[in-house]
Symmetry: C2
Subunit: 193 residues, 2 copies
DNA sequence: CCTACCGATCGGTAGG
DNA sequence: CCTACCGATCGGTAGG
C-alpha cells in the first residue's frame, strides 16, 4: 500500500523530469518506463494515461500559485508589499520544486480539450488578480504610471528565468534571488547618483 | 524559379507558425503539407527534412541577435546606452517576426547533435558578450552592484514575454514597449517620492 | 506533384 | 508485473 503510493510518486517525479528535459511530446511511455525500471505496459498499473501525468503536474502547480495569491490578497499592507510577496512566492515555488514547475511552465499547452480550457481559466484568473494589485499600486501613486499589463508581464518574466537557471549547485540562495530581483524590479538597475 | 523560391519561403513560414503554435514534435509533416496545400511527400521537393526547417529558424534568428550585438559593441557610449540598445534590439526582433522568433525561443532544444551544440555555442557567446557589457556598467558605477548574471537574466526575461504577448492588434506599439520596458529596467516600478 | 508504401515508433490493451 | 500485440501515426523514399 505505502509501496504502491511510492511507486506512483516515483513515476510522477520521473515524468516531470522527462517532460522538462525533453518536452511532453518527445517523451515516450517507453522512456518513462525505463526511467522507473518497468516495462511500458506496467506503468498502467499505477497511472491512467500519459496525459494524466501532465494534468497532475500542471494543476498541482497552478494550485500552489492560487493558494499563495489567496494569502497575499488578505494582507493589509501596501500594493508594494503585496507585489514583493508575490515575487517571493514565485521564486519560492520555483526553487522548491524546480523540475515540476518548469514542466508546468513549458508543457501546459499540450493539455487537451477541457483540461486546457480549465487550465487557461485558472491562469487568466491568477493574472487578473495580480494585475489588480498592480493597478491599485498605480492608482495609489506607489508605482509608476505605466500600462499595468506591461508591468505585470515584466514582473512575471523577471521571476520566470529562475526556472531555467536555478540549480541546487548555485552559490546564490533562493532568498538572495528574492532580494536581488525585488531590488531590480522596484528600483531598477541604474544607480541613483 | 521565383515561384520555386516562393513555395519554399511559404513552407518555411508555415513551419514557423506550426512550430510556434503546436511545438516542433507535435507538428507532423502532414500538418505542414496541409497548411501549404500539398501532400506530405511533395514537401521534399522543396526542403530536405523536418529538422532543416527548425535549423533554419533557429540559426536565422540567432544571426539577427549576433549581428545586432556586433553593432552595439562598436558604440562609443556608456554601458547604459548599450544595454538600452540591446533592449531595443530584442524587442524589435521580436515584433518584426514574432512567429519565427517564438519558434526559435521555444523549440531550439529539439535540434539534434551537432546543430544543437553549435546553437548552444552561439547562445553562450551572445550571453557572455551581453554580460560583459553589464559588468562594465557595474564597474563604472552606472549600474547597481548586483550579481551580473542575475541582472543579465532579469533583462533577458523582461523582454522575452513580448514574444508571447505581442500581437499586431495591440494598441501598444513596439516603440512604446521599448520605452516602457527600458524605463522599468533602468529605474524600477516604484515611484521616487 | 502525386500515389503507394516503408520501417519505426507511438499510447495503450488483453490476458495471464 | 510481464509478453505479446493492437491500430494509428510518424518522417521519409520509390517511382512515375
Amino acid at each position: 500500500m505505502s509501496e504502491e503510493k511510492n511507486k506512483q510518486q516515483i513515476i510522477y517525479e520521473a515524468a516531470a523530469r522527462l517532460f522538462r528535459d525533453k518536452g511532453y511530446r518527445a517523451t515516450s511511455m517507453r522512456d518513462l518506463a525505463k526511467a522507473v525500471d518497468l516495462k511500458a505496459s506496467s506503468l498502467y498499473n499505477h497511472i491512467k494515461s500519459k496525459e494524466e501525468l501532465l494534468k497532475a503536474i500542471c494543476f498541482e502547480n497552478a494550485k500552489k500559485f492560487l493558494l499563495g495569491m489567496d494569502q497575499i490578497e488578505k494582507l493589509t499592507g501596501s500594493a508594494r508589499e503585496k507585489v514583493e510577496a508575490l515575487i517571493a512566492l514565485h521564486i519560492r515555488i520555483a526553487t522548491e520544486d524546480i523540475t515540476s514547475v518548469t514542466a508546468f511552465n513549458d508543457e501546459w499547452r499540450h493539455l487537451s480539450g477541457s483540461a486546457l480550457e480549465e487550465f487557461l481559466k485558472l491562469r487568466r484568473s491568477y493574472e487578473k488578480r495580480f494585475e489588480d494589485i498592480i493597478k491599485q499600486g498605480i492608482a495609489n501613486g506607489e508605482f509608476v504610471t505605466i500600462d499595468s499589463s506591461i508591468l505585470l508581464f515584466t514582473i512575471f518574466s523577471s521571476v520566470r528565468w529562475v526556472y531555467d537557471w536555478y540549480k541546487p549547485g548555485r552559490k546564490i540562495t533562493a532568498e538572495d534571488l528574492i532580494a536581488h530581483i525585488t531590488a531590480v524590479l522596484l528600483d531598477g538597475i541604474r544607480t541613483t547618483q
